[in-house]
């Protein structure tokens, strides 16, 4: 079990109910692993607990049950080894773009000289294509630029695990595509281990090695782990022509449209075995289900 770089075992989050009722179980029995250098996306309907899982991985939130082990050590509290790109960027608005990055770099390497910190920070600003705006305040940047600063900040500290909560959720399609490509480029350079939440099926296929699928909450589960066996380097414009693309996509859409509901709640208990990893699925090797999947996809598209 401990062969993975990150181990999530029996994770659950419950909130006490108002009054004396049953506690509300957001999700339970989440088990999965992340390997070093792997890019893992997680998809699920709103409210199923994705952000909660990410915050627990970050050490910002506490699980009601279960453990997260990274590199053989249990996660207890936030650490510089786990960088977070927050959904709303969370830049410090009183600091300039550059100072937002040096803030993180200084925290990471307190003994570095000012010059070293600046040079390192500038390098990462350049990496996300933001040279020339380093003196501007975040309020003077566009949403896409802010998100790039936030990504640069996370990459600059070179964490062992990068956690991203719907990093492109607030961006328009054009900007989103641009930053996705930038992210792929940076990821290919750094081979950073990434765990990312998204709502966007295409984004997940473009970026991920593996996609975790969550059933609907409450009592959500991580039900499947879908392999994305499309070779890299991937390109946004080319990937849709790959023969496996629609198979994977249909599988994901089918899950989100139909099965996430069917498998949700206590109904899942019968099928899922407690403490097990989610079923590993490679949609490209399941020819018999492909027809049905295409059917649902057409339905979903209508």
């Amino acid at each position: 079990m401990s062969s993975h770089f990150v181990e999530v075992q029996g994770l659950a989050k419950r909130y006490p109910a108002p009054g004396r009722g049953e506690p509300l179980t957001v999700f339970e029995d989440a088990n999965f692993g992340i390997d070093k250098g792997e890019f893992v996306c997680i998809i699920g309907h709103s409210g199923c607990g994705k952000s909660t899982i990410l915050n627990i991985l970050a050490g910002l939130d506490e699980a009601s049950d279960g453990v997260v082990v990274m590199n053989g050590r249990e996660v207890a509290g936030p650490s510089l080894e786990r960088g977070v790109v927050f959904q709303n960027y969370s830049l410090l608005p009183w600091r300039s773009t550059l100072r937002n990055i040096t803030f993180a770099v200084q925290a990471r390497w307190p003994r570095w000289s000012r010059e070293e910190v600046n040079a390192h920070s500038l390098r990462f600003l350049e990496l996300v294509g933001l040279k020339g705006v380093e003196q501007r305040k975040p309020s003077q940047l566009s949403g896409g630029m802010r998100q790039r600063v936030s990504i640069a900040r996370a990459f600059a500290t070179q964490p062992q695990l990068l956690l991203m909560d719907e990093p492109f959720g607030a961006l328009d399609a054009l900007t989103r595509g641009m930053i996705q490509e930038e992210l792929i480029r940076i990821w290919e350079e750094t081979h950073q281990t990434v765990f990312m939440i998204t709502h966007d099926v295409d984004e997940a296929i473009l970026l991920a090695d593996r996609i975790l699928l969550m059933t609907n909450g409450p009592q959500a589960r991580v039900a499947e782990s879908v392999q994305v066996a499309i070779p890299r380097p991937r390109q946004r414009t080319d990937i849709i022509h790959h023969p496996d693309y629609y198979r994977i996509r249909n599988h994901l859409v089918d899950f989100l449209v139909n099965r996430s509901k069917e498998l949700s709640g206590s109904a899942a208990g019968a099928e899922a075995q407690v403490g097990r990893y989610p079923r590993i699925v490679d949609p490209t090797r399941e020819p018999e289900s492909a027809v049905a999947d295409q059917e649902t996809c057409r339905q979903a598209a209508m």
């Binding site: 970050a58 050490g59 910002l60 509290g77 936030p78 650490s79 510089l80 786990r82 960088g83 977070v84 927050f86 709303n88 969370s90 410090l92 608005p93 009183w94 600091r95 803030f103 993180a104 925290a107 990471r108 305040k137 309020s139 500290t157």
Partner: protein, 276 residues
């Protein structure tokens, strides 16, 4: 004709001022003693001798005279306006900065700790509405020094807005920013100085601005009570001398100095302000 809003506002201001001064001057012109005086009027000194509000022109010429030599000192009851204002400013600033020394750390603590917030809240709620002047007798009795008592009153009145705004600003720092500090493993001190203080600074400075405004209001009343020196004493003394021209002049000066104090803090506020 397109003029900037600023320019047009300035014109309206000047017109209003001219109108106000003109009416004031006209209404209070001393009537000439043209008609023959009655027996009674002769006895009382005539209409021109009647006490009336001095005209702006009189105030203006006094202002020129006083401001030409603001720092003369001719005994305890005759000091220049600059000296009097200096005394008041000294008291206000001393009391204000002493209050800041207490209010900012305590406010920080209250804002950071829900426990301290709950524990200290009853005290703050009871102490806050007390008129600062109500402390004066107690202060005079305990401190036995009128100068220090005046400073104490300023201290007491400036402390509350600063304390409350600091606590409010600190406790309302966005959780996202605190999480940024946490994920970067910042210690308590670094979190306080690098994240919470800059995030709360505009709120804190608003509190300081309210405080210095109140302090400047209170010092006039306090000095009327304590006597001796200061702009409040000066106003009261000139009233006792029935020198209304000086009273009006000092009222104006109180307004102008208060405005400058506020402007000074406003410019500090601009330094720490940020846009989300």
């Amino acid at each position: 004709m397109i003029h900037s809003l600023k320019f047009r506002a300035a014109i309206v201001s000047v017109v209003l001022l001219a109108l106000f001064l003109g009416i004031w001057e006209g209404l209070n012109a001393p009537p000439g003693d043209t008609e023959p005086l009655t027996e009674y009027e002769k006895l009382m000194g005539g209409a021109s001798q009647e006490a009336r509000v001095p005209q702006p022109s009189a105030v203006f010429s006094l202002a020129l005279e006083e401001l030409g030599n603001p720092f003369y000192d001719a005994g305890p009851n005759d000091k220049g306006i600059g000296i009097q204002l200096g005394y008041s400013l000294y008291r206000v600033l001393t009391g204000f900065f002493m209050a800041a020394l207490v209010a900012l750390p305590v406010g920080f603590l209250v804002g950071m700790s829900p426990l301290m917030q709950k524990a200290l809240n009853p005290f703050i709620q009871v102490l806050k509405p007390i008129s600062p002047l109500a402390w004066m007798p107690l202060a005079l009795f305990i401190i036995k020094d009128s100068e220090a008592s005046a400073i104490f009153v300023i201290f007491i009145c400036s402390i509350w807005p600063m304390l409350i705004n600091t606590a409010f600003g600190v406790s309302n720092v966005r959780q996202d920013w605190v999480n940024v500090a946490r994920t970067h493993e910042l210690g308590h001190l670094k979190t306080a100085f690098q994240v919470i203080l800059p995030a709360a600074a505009p709120t804190i400075l608003t509190g300081m601005r309210i405080s210095i405004g109140i302090a400047w209001l209170v010092i006039v009343a306090a000095e009327m009570l304590v006597g001796g020196t200061g702009i409040g004493y000066y106003v009261w003394n000139e009233w006792n001398n029935l020198d209304l021209t000086s009273v009006i002049f000092s009222i104006l000066m109180i307004g102008i100095v208060g405005m400058l104090l506020d402007a000074a803090l406003a410019s500090v506020n601009r330094l720490v302000e940020y846009q989300e």
